[in-house]
């Protein structure tokens, strides 16, 4: 990417003051109510969790390179995959995009000074930290071996590990998530600057808005479920344990009533990021603004009615399975609509082969595979074979990592100059993107074959016939890991040595590109008045 905006001199109305150097010292960060600082602290925290959970993943893959026990006992393997999954989901991907990028960018995008409830925002962060400590405490105590799903009766009667500490942690994290969602909804409704109509919101914000709805409506169900689980384990109340007259399948209904919508908490913000990256780096008006915006809302709402597709083999009634299968296909429609509109946005654009755009194209590639491999899992008959095999492991990594995480990393590059005031070096950033793309496909595409051939998930060892594919997948994870570490080094290098960023390095049209990089504490010196849409790029005319 050529250093575009040479015309944009570094924006400096405030004599070098910005939100980072406005106040100094740890205390000023811990007591700040500035959404940008809170966002940054979320980013550092969630990325740390991503690294720990990622290291667990690499360890898992090394154990799986050969059949039999290599260096992890079955008990250790079970704890490692549980912590990997639970940390990736609850401590990384759910909070990372809304709490990190969302917090930073949302008020700026609507021309506000801050979110509606700045102190509540800080409370969310503290709740996140508290929940993380409970969850991560299990690493140093007795671990956790229930899988991130905490299925009963295993979690209530069999497991000897710190189920209560971790579920209590997840319970607290839920409140963090609810408060963030509430804050964002009110902010978008109430604090838009003059001229920022609903249809002038960047699509990132429609996605965040839809996500917030899901966070508010679904997370309380998780909270109740986890509380019941804790009561059951501590006092044998008899809600889920069949020996006491409870029903273990009921737990699965409760759990997935939250956790299916939760997969949209993970992916919707990623879709928002992609909409912005593609439009800005193609310098083109987004194709099908309303279709993309309303499909986010449609996904959020229909997503509440499909949880039973995780339970086709559980013993739920045939009627329920049939209905859940039917509705599930309707969630696929809006996702497809988005993908078609993104591709069309590239048509007739001026496409920069910049790092964020390369991530956006990786996203399109990987998310399309992730979405398409969800279809056979929704076809009940096919799912009877595929359920709980590596096919599912591959599918959800394509969606959560290939989709949400790739979008997140792309978004980090996209808003990095704005957040830090520094440019990063394009060459290593692109090499990292390529390594991640290749490594990811090596690791996870292999697993589709493992799954259809009958390799179940959550296995510490396996039949000899699966050996070659597992080995290949492990080699892929090394390439993937190398790519991710290169991203880290690129960012560290940028912080230490990066060039100063102009206020609008990509030639974007939404409000965040009109303030300095990094922005001042109050975001804008004067409340901006907006007279055009977020994607009003110069066109060839009608």
């Amino acid at each position: 990417m050529s250093r575009a905006a040479t015309a944009d001199a570094v924006y400096d109305e405030s004599g070098g003051k910005n939100y980072i150097n406005a106040e100094k010292g740890v205390v000023s960060w811990l007591t700040t109510v500035d959404h940008k600082r809170i966002g940054l602290m979320y980013l550092v925290s969630t990325l740390t969790m991503f690294m720990i959970a990622g290291i667990f993943a690499l360890i898992l893959r090394i154990e799986l390179m050969k059949a039999g026990e290599d260096f992890l006992t079955p008990a250790m393997y079970n704890q490692a995959f549980t912590l990997h999954g639970a940390m990736m989901v609850f401590l990384f991907i759910i909070p990372a995009i809304p709490g990190g990028l969302g917090n930073f960018i949302l008020p700026i995008m609507i021309g506000a000074k801050d979110v509606a409830f700045p102190k509540l925002n800080l409370l969310s962060l503290y709740l996140y930290w508290t929940g993380s400590i409970f969850t991560a405490s299990s690493i140093v105590s007795t671990g956790l071996d229930t899988g991130w799903t905490f299925y009963v009766p295993y979690s209530t009667t069999v497991s000897q590990t710190s189920v209560i500490a971790v579920t209590f942690g997840a319970f607290i994290l839920g409140f963090s998530s609810i408060l963030t969602g509430l804050n964002f909804i009110v902010t978008i409704h109430k604090l838009r600057a003059p001229g920022v109509t609903w249809y002038r919101l960047p699509l990132m914000l429609w996605a965040i808005y839809a996500t917030s709805i899901v966070q508010i409506l679904a997370t309380p169900v998780l909270a109740i479920t986890l509380l019941l689980l804790i009561l059951e384990r501590a006092f044998q109340v008899g809600i889920f344990d069949p020996k006491l007259g409870g029903d273990p399948v009921l737990y699965q209904h409760f759990f997935w009533f939250y956790s299916h919508p939760a997969v949209y908490i993970m992916i919707l913000p990623g879709m928002g990021i992609i909409s912005d990256i593609i439009a800005v780096h193609s310098h083109r008006r987004i194709f099908g603004y309303k279709a993309i915006a309303f499909s986010s809302v449609a996904i959020a709402l229909v997503g509440f009615l499909v949880w039973g597709h995780h339970m086709f083999t559980s013993g739920q009634s045939e009627l329920a399975s049939t209905i859940f299968s039917f509705i599930t296909f309707f969630v696929a429609v809006p996702s497809g609509v988005k993908v078609f509109n993104w591709t069309s946005t590239m048509w007739g654009g001026s496409i920069a082969w910049s790092t964020p755009m390369l991530y956006a194209m990786s996203f399109l590639f990987l998310f399309t595979i992730g979405g398409l491999t969800g279809l056979p899992l929704a076809m009940v008959g096919l799912d009877l074979h595929l359920h709980d095999t590596y096919f599912v492991v591959a599918h959800f990594h394509y969606v959560m990592m290939g989709g949400a995480v790739i979008a997140f990393i792309g978004g980090l590059h996209h808003w990095w100059p704005k957040m830090t005031g520094r440019m990063y070096h394009e060459t290593p950033a692109k090499i990292a993107c390529a390594l991640i793309f290749v490594g990811f496909n090596m690791t996870f595409f292999t697993q589709f074959f493992l799954g259809t051939r009958g390799m179940p998930r959550r296995y510490h060892t396996y039949l000899d016939q699966f050996q070659p594919l597992h080995a290949f997948s492990t080699f892929g994870s090394w390439v993937l890991g190398a790519g991710l570490f290169l991203v880290l080094f690129t960012f560290i290098h940028s912080l230490l040595k990066g060039e100063r960023a102009p206020k609008n390095p990509w030639g974007g049209k939404s409000l965040e590109w009109e303030t300095s990089s990094p922005p001042p504490t109050e975001n804008f010196h004067r409340t901006p008045v907006v007279t055009h849409g977020p994607y009003d790029f110069a066109t060839t005319g009608k």
Partner: protein, 344 residues
């Protein structure tokens, strides 16, 4: 039974209850197919399944090309040449939106239908299906046939529908046979079912597909499909069943030993110590005092009566807790009597 018997290799031996025949050590496998994706087929259902799978793969490939083809093309064709380049003003197109909503929706409805039809076939077992009771436990599988035979591997006749009724004694497991393209969760306090119709002789692996703890990845068993035929002919399923789940005829003593291990061991010891029921040590020929004050000499008829109708004569000092095992075949009962006679 050994809990969490984890071994270094996947050639895990099935845990054997004491008293049964020597464990059969062999590699578990899932026979591959020529294609890349699915294992070998067995039965009409797997053929339909594989048809649905190929249909799905083609839908997938077509959609993938429709999305990624243009994306790649545009990325090269519209690669930025100058910073001031102007771009297309076209930012919506209603007809296009309708087309790419309606066509996928129709196709998705058809996919639902394909998946549903397959599913419906798996749910309705034919009336003449043989029922086998499957019990999942940490970490082994147990199969009980209509005649009471209990085994650790599922042996089945070729060309005959089989219905499994599954339940668990502890946590949730899942019974997964890739060759049949089927799995069903095995849940405590709930009976789930599954049926299939094997049309090929096979020896294929059963794996547990619902995480159940440290032995989860070695909770193997196998499905052995053998020819159906005359009980007298060696190598048929009927012969196997008539021999109490053995490939060849067992001596009465061996059969009795096996049945004791499967059915009686939990309540009757062999060392003279008292358990739920009296010990078998020195039982045969002794004079037993009963709860009603009378006495009886333990002979063949008394043992048979105790098995078939245990409530008829209650031994003094014990409760009437023994379940009737009237379903046992004469051959099994003769074996058990021989076994008890041996416990001097």
């Amino acid at each position: 039974m050994s809990q969490g018997a984890t071994t270094k290799t996947p050639t895990a031996t099935t845990a054997q209850p004491a008293g049964t025949a020597a464990p059969q050590e062999a590699q578990y496998t899932i026979q591959p197919d020529e294609g890349y994706w699915l294992p070998r087929q067995n039965g009409a259902y797997s053929e339909q399944f594989d048809w649905a799978w190929s249909f799905y793969i083609w839908v997938c490939v077509i959609f993938f090309v429709i999305v990624i083809g243009p994306m790649t093309y545009f990325a090269f064709k519209y690669k930025r040449k100058s910073e001031t380049e102007k771009t297309s003003p076209i930012d919506h197109h209603l007809q296009l939106e309708i087309v790419w909503t309606a066509i996928p929706t129709a196709l998705l409805m058809y996919m639902f239908w394909v998946g549903f039809k397959l599913y419906a076939d798996t749910q309705i077992a034919p009336n003449d299906a043989m029922t086998v009771q499957v019990t999942g436990a940490m970490y082994n599988w147990k199969f009980q046939y209509p005649d009471g035979t209990v085994t650790q591997e599922l042996e089945l006749p070729k060309d005959r529908p089989v219905k499994l009724v599954l339940s668990s004694v502890d946590t949730i497991h899942s019974f997964f046979v890739p060759e049949f393209r089927l799995k069903a969760d095995v849940v405590p306090n709930l009976y789930t079912t599954m049926w299939f119709h094997p049309t090929k002789e096979t020896d294929t692996a059963v794996q547990c597909a619902e995480y159940c703890g440290n032995g989860h990845s070695t909770m193997y068993s196998r499905v052995l499909v053998m020819p159906s035929g005359d009980a007298g002919a060696e190598g048929t399923f009927e012969n196997w069943l008539a021999n109490g789940g053995e490939k060849s005829s067992l001596s009465p003593l061996a059969l009795g030993t096996k049945k004791y291990g499967q059915l009686c061991k939990s309540c009757h010891t062999l060392d003279g110590s008292k358990s739920v029921g009296p010990s078998f040590k020195g039982l045969f020929g002794k004079t037993e005092s009963l709860a009603d004050g009378s006495t009886v000499t333990v002979d063949e008829n008394y043992i048979k009566e105790s098995i078939v109708n245990p409530g008829a004569k209650i031994v003094q000092g014990y409760q009437n807790q023994m379940p009737s095992m009237a379903y046992l075949k004469d051959k099994d009962i003769e074996g058990i009597i021989t076994f008890i006679k041996e416990q001097k």
